[in-house]
């Protein structure tokens, strides 16, 4: 009896791991392939028989993309746009999320829902009117303009996420802080924000990654080297270099590196339960 139960459990475990491993391969596989490709010589990439593990390893592709193309410029632009987007979202979104979480004002629910409605339209539908507006105010082909465009669909997300974190910070803490002489804003900054810190970091990283990887808006709203971001730039290189797969793969790896690093950071932050002990435990 017990023996067969244990056997059944082992079988179930094996099946579980099998599925998990399969899914992981499906997700990580392309990235590993990209990494491997970026380390190969051009001659080893296009071969008669498939060569999975490179026989010879080279970093030439990395050197090439960094020195012989506009790639550093693209990365620079992406950093600027991402930084601007996150800054705008954190500065305005934090206050908005706090207000939605703490104040009962007329139109509160409608506003929150309105934020979601924006997300329901496909980005393609938004892009033409957005382009017209941006051209009207002279923000086409500018990094700030692109950041604003990103804000239009990332800010609602940011506010919704952060509101959840603010909601879970006990209100009596702010009451206590206000009795201790803090203003509303002071209580928010000194008491609620430290408690919602993990949420703030997580939400910020989330929108940073979204802005970093965004392609469609960037393609439509940027035209020149001055503001083009890496997803668009990398795509355009396909024609420029007659499919230099190794160089492209190197560019891809360099571009996802910041994302990987950011994720590693968030993961650690999100695990820490800072609110422990705020109230009766």
């Amino acid at each position: 009896m017990i023996e067969s139960k244990r056997r059944r459990r082992t079988v179930a475990n094996i099946a579980t791991y099998f599925v998990l491993a399969g899914l992981s391969m499906f997700c990580i596989g392309p990235m590993i392939w990209m990494l491997l490709t970026s380390l190969k010589y051009e001659a080893d990439i296009v071969t008669q028989t498939m060569q999975y593990i490179p026989r010879r390893v080279t970093f030439d592709n990395y050197v090439a993309i960094w020195t012989q193309s506009g790639f550093p410029r693209l990365i620079g632009n992406s950093i600027t746009v991402t930084f601007l987007t996150v800054t705008i979202c954190v500065a305005t979104g934090t206050l908005a999320a706090y207000a939605f979480s703490r104040f009962a004002f007329r139109g509160r629910t409608q506003l929150m829902l309105g934020y979601l409605v924006v997300r329901m339209f496909p980005a393609v539908m938004m892009i033409i009117p957005l382009y017209v507006v941006m051209r009207g105010v002279g923000l086409v082909d500018s990094r700030f303009g692109l950041a604003l465009a990103y804000t239009s669909f990332l800010l609602p997300l940011f506010v919704w996420m952060l509101k959840g974190f603010f909601d879970s910070a006990p209100r009596e803490l702010e009451s206590a802080a206000r009795i201790d002489g803090s203003t509303r804003l002071g209580a928010m900054v000194r008491i609620v924000m430290p408690l919602a810190r993990n949420g703030l970091v997580a939400s910020s990283v989330f929108i940073a990654i979204a802005a970093w990887n965004e392609f469609l808006f960037a393609l439509m709203l940027t035209t020149g080297q001055g503001s083009r971001t890496w997803p668009v730039g990398l795509q355009l290189m396909v024609g420029e270099f007659q499919l230099p797969w190794g160089v492209l793969a190197a560019g891809g790896i360099l571009s996802i590196l910041p994302v990987v690093v950011l994720f590693a950071i968030v993961q650690r932050t999100m695990v820490q339960g800072l609110t422990a002990g705020a109230i009766k435990g």
Partner: protein
């Protein structure tokens, strides 16, 4: 420091719902006042209005004859202890206590001196460098009280601070709060729905119900001469017995007659009463158990509750009504026994249909 608090004609709405209506209350300096009432009657709201955490729709609140209802909470000179303790979880105990003092720009030496003094009073110097998450419920409670003490406030406001403690700790903390009041001689306002806390702590109890104050009085006044049927039923455990009655007012003191012919001669003047339906009220300790036929009524014992020093006896009368009486601790009565009930007319009350109360003439 201490202060008197004056609340005049205060109203409060949340949206369309009225929570407090035209409420007035004078609290004397050094007084320990308890707001007592069922959950949702507006006690916390009133306390938070005094603290400045809720706005006042209309009316005035003054501390030491100075209007404060327009001041922010931090400028009112009060301290508050919350049910959840509301300790700042990311700060040490010391920083928790220092937070409010730093905000008013107090010097480091004074802050440290006050924190050390409070820690000494509350016997928790060893906890100062810990974070709230590392403390037990009772210790957090102490820190919350300590955070209030260091501010040397004009008044302490407590919102059900004992509800989250277990029974033994609650009793001990209750006692410590009473001692703290003795020692600090500060005005204290304490919100609770627990009548034992109210009775044991209060100089005066403010019984609230349904947007209004039902009665203000010392614990014994509230207990012995409740102003309304609500107060009579809410204060005291077990709750007061109520029996529908008609009155015989032919003599000086009214006699209450119940439906099945039982009558009790009260000590309440007939002149004050009308020819109307009344509710007769009597507490369990004023219903003695006697041999059958020797009291005002006979009944059968339904349930016994032995409390040690006395026994509560739930008795079913002929018409099906249940009455709680009390007997000595080692009562010989058993479930199913037929017993007699002797009502103490001197201690009985009458309530009109509107809930107004009449009691025996004061001695």
């Amino acid at each position: 420091m201490t202060a008197d608090i004056e609340i005049r004609n205060v109203n409060k709405h949340f949206g369309a719902m009225s929570v407090l209506e035209d409420l007035s209350l004078s609290i004397k300096a050094r007084e320990f006042i308890v707001f007592l009432g069922p959950s949702g009657c507006g006690k916390s709201t009133l306390l938070r209005m005094i603290a400045g955490l809720e706005t006042v729709d209309s009316g005035e609140i003054a501390i030491n004859r100075e209007r404060i209802d327009h001041l922010p909470p931090g400028k009112r000179g009060i301290a508050m202890v919350f049910q959840s303790y509301a300790l700042y979880p990311h700060m040490t105990v010391r920083d928790n206590m220092a937070f409010g003092l730093e905000n008013i720009g107090m010097s480091r030496e004074v802050i440290d001196a006050r924190i050390n003094e409070a820690a000494r009073i509350l016997e928790m110097p060893h906890l100062l460098e810990r974070k709230p998450g590392q403390l037990s419920g009772g210790q957090r409670q102490r820190v919350a009280i300590g955070r209030a003490i260091v501010k040397e406030p004009k008044a302490f406001l407590f919102d059900e601070p004992l509800s989250n403690l277990d029974a033994a700790l609650r009793t001990r903390t209750r006692l410590e709060l009473a001692q703290l009041h003795q020692r600090l001689q500060s005005t204290m306002i304490f919100v609770t729905h627990d009548q034992v806390e109210a009775m044991t702590l209060a100089d005066r109890i403010v019984v609230m119900n349904n947007r209004r104050i039902e009665q203000i009085g010392s614990p014994m006044e509230i207990y012995e001469r409740p102003a309304t049927k609500f107060v009579a039923g809410f204060v005291g455990a077990p709750a007061m017995n109520f029996i529908d009655a008609t009155l015989d007012r032919s003599s000086g003191n009214a006699t209450a007659r119940f439906s099945d012919g039982i009558s009790v001669r009260t000590a309440i003047s007939s002149d004050l009463l009308a020819d109307d339906k009344y509710s007769f009220g009597i507490r369990s300790e004023d219903v003695r158990i006697v041999p059958p036929g020797q009291g005002n009524a006979d009944g059968v014992v339904d349930v016994l509750e032995r409390l040690g020093e006395r026994t509560l006896i739930y008795i079913r009368l002929g018409d099906g009504q249940q009455i709680v009486g009390s007997d000595v601790g080692n009562s010989r009565v058993a479930v199913g026994h037929k017993v007699g009930l002797a009502f103490d007319g001197q201690k009985s009350h009458l309530f009109s249909a509107a809930g107004r109360a009449w009691h025996a003439r004061e001695a």
